[in-house]
Symmetry: C2
Subunit: 336 residues, 2 copies
């Protein structure tokens, strides 16, 4: 296979940090979806035994990190740093998950691209030798997100056809300088793109251009093309956003179709789960990465994979102020 090259937005990990542990913990609806049997834990109670959805989201993160550490055969105290973030205001799920844990925490906000951002920064840290073991964690919670971004669930609001369903769950990965597991070979960083989409119920469209922009930059800078990847996965554009990305590349004469998937499309079954355009939320790509993509690399189902986290950088305030929706996409290249 061709080798990756460095570029303006593309960084290399010549020391090949290894993802030696991963885990996903999700909610009931996610457990009923097509990937149901691949998640490490499916929790039936949306409150996860806690007093609030927000505290439950913290527990989803903690549980995923604990399981990922177990798989990596590490204790929390052996971690050099945790890179984490989520969608709650002030990233509360992540910060509360690390309360009292005596491990350095670097808080991130990249909306639904947070897992890719965390993974690439953890990869940077391990590749450069700042630490031998780092973790990347992200989460979301359907009920907490609906209340914060749209309406309380009890209002019974109607959802538009282009809406996506926020995943309840968390994904965690443990990145180490040595050991076995899928390797991180490089990453292409995202810029903030805004094509003027103002419909907060159509985030797939808002994010599609950012995904196209980063993947295109990855191809042109790295010297690798779609044919060098067994799988290119965006997360989480949903059905419409995925179609748009396919269309953008098709106009360039690049066919992605067979090797292109989206975490928001993979996680739910639209014919039985009434999720409209698919899944979303920072927990979506995090859980799909840990449940489906990393095991696929481990079992050599794919040899090389490009994991492209996409995030819509809106807030309820910016929507009320009639601002359009900026978006970002960070891509991480992984090898079996």
């Amino acid at each position: 296979m061709s080798e990756l090259r460095q570029g303006k937005r593309t960084i290399l990990f010549p020391n090949r940090p290894v993802i030696s542990g991963w885990a996903s913990v999700v909610g009931k609806k996610e457990g009923e979806g097509p990937l149901g049997r691949e998640f490490d834990q499916v929790e039936q109670d949306s409150r996860f035994g806690c007093a609030s959805w927000e505290q439950a989201e913290t527990k989803f993160q903690k549980s995923a990190l604990n399981l990922a550490l177990k798989r990596a055969d590490l204790t929390k105290q052996e971690l050099d740093a945790v890179f984490s973030g989520d969608l709650l205001n002030q990233c509360a799920a992540s910060n509360f998950a690390m309360r009292g844990v005596q491990v350095p925490v670097l808080g991130l906000y990249g909306a639904c691209s947070t897992m890719a951002e965390a993974l690439l920064l953890a990869g940077c840290a391990v590749n450069a030798g700042y630490g031998g073991s780092c973790a990347a964690v992200s989460s979301s919670h359907f009920a907490a997100a609906e209340r914060q971004y749209r309406f309380p669930l009890a209002y019974g609001g109607q959802r538009t056809p282009t809406a996506q369903w926020t995943v309840t769950g968390a994904g965690a990965t443990v990145i180490r300088s040595k050991g076995s597991g899928p390797a991180m070979i490089g990453a292409t960083l995202g810029t903030v793109q805004d094509k003027g989409i103002t419909d907060a119920n159509n985030m797939g469209a808002a994010m599609a251009w950012a995904a196209y922009d980063t993947i295109r930059a990855h191809f042109s800078e790295s010297g690798l093309g779609p044919e060098d990847y067994d799988l290119i996965v965006t997360g989480d554009l949903g059905k419409l956003g995925k179609e748009l990305v396919t269309e953008f590349f098709s106009r360039d004469g690049v066919k992605l179709t067979e090797r292109y998937e989206d975490c928001g499309v993979l996680i739910f079954d639209p014919s039985t789960q009434d999720v409209h355009c698919g899944g979303s939320g920072a927990g979506c790509s995090a859980a799909v990465l840990a449940a489906h993509l990393l095991p696929g690399l481990e079992h050599k189902r794919w040899k090389r994979l490009l994991f492209c986290g996409t995030g819509a950088l809106l807030s309820p305030t910016t929507v009320q102020q009639k601002q359009s929706i900026p978006a970002v996409c960070h891509a991480v290249a992984l090898e079996a």
Copy 2:
């Protein structure tokens, strides 16, 4: 002077990334404070000519970054990455500031510690050779923060004696692999500390232990003591938090007094500005760093300085849910 040593939470920058540009742009009240003449720009209009305070905060960030780039004699397009974050929900000020700028963006959330977090991650990136030029930016806005965290200003709510005043303004720094300017020699990463403080109007107390914990870890791991620094600056604990940190160290037999300052104390004059315990907000330490600390290093007023960004990781939701307030502190060691 003694050399810095690596440790569990302490990383070294042997390649000594240089802060070659910096700038601060603040509001009217900050301009009337003790550091008034040191800021690069004082904006009299709290809306900065924009339709909302939130958009004004974006403009504060953009203006600070543009001025910092000018001082570093760089264009925006020459940056390899921007590390930025703020206090608005979904870090909207930062993300909107980078809209349409074709430069990689890594979004952070560390509450009022964001500037220190951004600085240390940019230092890591430049020291490791991932990029030759990175920027670190952060901001806050009094009116936007009051509306989001407490009450709309028009309610005329009373402030408690331990409250701090959110700074309106932004600070930006440009970190490069070569050139002139203060050097980054290392950093000690923060863990999430929570001593059970539940009063959201007493964030200085909530953050004081985190500051103590990180500075103590820095001393014990790096081999440097208070006597190796000409100045140790927390930002922004305010008057009460600063007293608590002084007290915690005093119990250990360590006297910080003469060489210890706090950005929240430095930025306002309590005798004339009615700010209760002092300044706060992610823009506070960012603006004080750019206006006061970096020029002081440049002019050899101090030879070595420890910049300790402190953040209270609460959200209005966690406060309503009766959760205590976690806090974090990241420390960056700088040399003239």
